[in-house]
Symmetry: C2
Subunit: 194 residues, 2 copies
C-alpha cells in the first residue's frame, strides 16, 4: 500500500507556488470572502491563473485545500499545547483556539454545503483530525482530575461549533466568551485522579 517506485521529485518552484497560493488564498478569503475571484488570488500570490489551475484543477479544490490546511494548523496545536501546559489549561486553550477556527471559517463552512463534490471528503477530514486531537486533551485532563469525564469529544466539538453559529450578537469575542463558559463547566465537574 506504500508509494510505488522512486517518486518523481516535485520541482522546487512548484512547491513554492503551491505554498504561496495556499497562503494567498487564505488571506484573500479572509479579506474578500470565499467568493473572491481566482484572478485576485493568483495576483496576490504573484502567479498567473494558469498556475493556479495547474495546482488546483477547480476553484473548489483550492477552497478545499485552504480548509484542510486550516484544520491541520488547528489540530496540530493540540499536542503542542499539551506539551506546554497542564492538562486542564491545555484543554481550555485549545478549545478557544478551535473557537477561533470555527468563527473564522464560517464562510468556508457555508461553502461546504454547496453540493460541490470537491467538498465531499471535508467533513470526514474534519472529524478525523479534530476528534483524536480533542480526545487526547480530554483524556489527559480527565486523568489529571481537571475535567469531568461525562462529555464526549464529538459532542464538545459540535457544541462549540453551534455556540458560534448565529453571528447576530454583540462584540466579536462573543463566541470566545461563550466557549469559555462551556469550558468552565467542563472543568468543574472533575473528579480527583485515582
Amino acid at each position: 500500500m506504500g508509494e510505488a517506485g522512486p517518486v518523481r521529485r516535485v520541482r522546487a518552484d512548484a512547491r513554492r507556488n503551491t505554498d504561496a497560493l495556499l497562503e494567498a488564498a487564505a488571506t484573500v478569503f479572509a479579506t474578500s470572502g470565499v467568493d473572491a475571484p481566482v484572478r485576485e488570488i493568483a495576483t496576490t500570490a504573484g502567479v498567473g491563473v494558469g498556475t493556479v489551475y495547474r495546482h488546483f484543477p477547480k476553484r473548489a479544490d483550492l477552497v478545499a485545500a485552504v480548509f484542510r490546511h486550516a484544520v491541520d494548523a488547528c489540530a496540530d496545536e493540540a499536542p503542542a499545547l499539551a506539551a506546554e501546559h497542564p492538562p486542564g489549561e491545555a484543554l481550555a486553550r485549545w478549545l478557544l483556539r478551535y473557537t477561533d477556527f470555527i468563527a473564522t471559517k464560517r464562510g468556508l463552512a457555508a461553502a461546504l454545503h454547496s453540493g460541490d463534490p470537491a467538498f465531499d471528503a471535508l467533513p470526514a477530514y474534519f472529524d478525523q483530525r479534530f476528534r483524536p486531537a480533542l480526545d487526547a486533551l480530554l483524556a489527559a485532563a480527565v486523568d489529571a482530575g481537571e475535567a469531568r469525564c461525562d462529555v464526549a469529544a464529538n459532542d464538545l466539538l459540535r457544541a462549540v461549533a453551534n455556540l458560534c453559529g448565529p453571528a447576530h450578537d454583540a462584540g466579536p469575542d462573543h463566541a470566545r466568551r461563550m466557549t469559555a463558559l462551556l469550558v468552565d463547566g467542563l472543568r468543574r465537574g472533575a473528579v480527583s485522579p485515582a
Copy 2:
C-alpha cells in the same frame, strides 16, 4: 393608505408575459434547478431577456416571485380542501400537499439563505400565508374531535419541513410516508367534541 388615483392600467401583453415567465421559471427551476440561466427561462417563456429584467429587475426577484407563487398555490388549497372534505380528512390531505411543497422547493429553500436581500421578506411571507391556513384546518379538526388539541400550527409546519430535510433516504415518497405517520399521530389523540 389606499391606492392613489386611477392606477394606470397594465398592458395586456405585459401581464401575459409576467404570467408566462412565472410559469416558465417554475418549470425550468423544477427541471434544471434554481441555478438555471435566465436565458433559458426567457426562451421557455417565449420572451427576450430584456423582458425578463423589465418584470424582475434581478434574477433573485424572479426566484422570489416563483416562491411566493408556490406558497400562494399551496396555501389557497387549504380552504378548498376544507370545503370538500370532513375536517380531519382535509387536514391530512393538506399536510400531504404541504409536504410536496417542501420537497419540491428544497432548492429554493437553500437559495433563501444565500443572503440576497431579495429573499429577506420570504420567511415572513411563508409564515403569514401558511400559519393561518393550517390554523383554520387544525381548529376545525379539533372542534370536530378529529385531531388532538395540543399541537400548534407553527410546530407542525416546522416539524413536517424538518421531516423532509435529509434527502439521503429511500424512495422518493419517503417524505410523504413520514408525514402520513405524523398525521396519524395527530388524529389519534383527539377528544370528542363538546
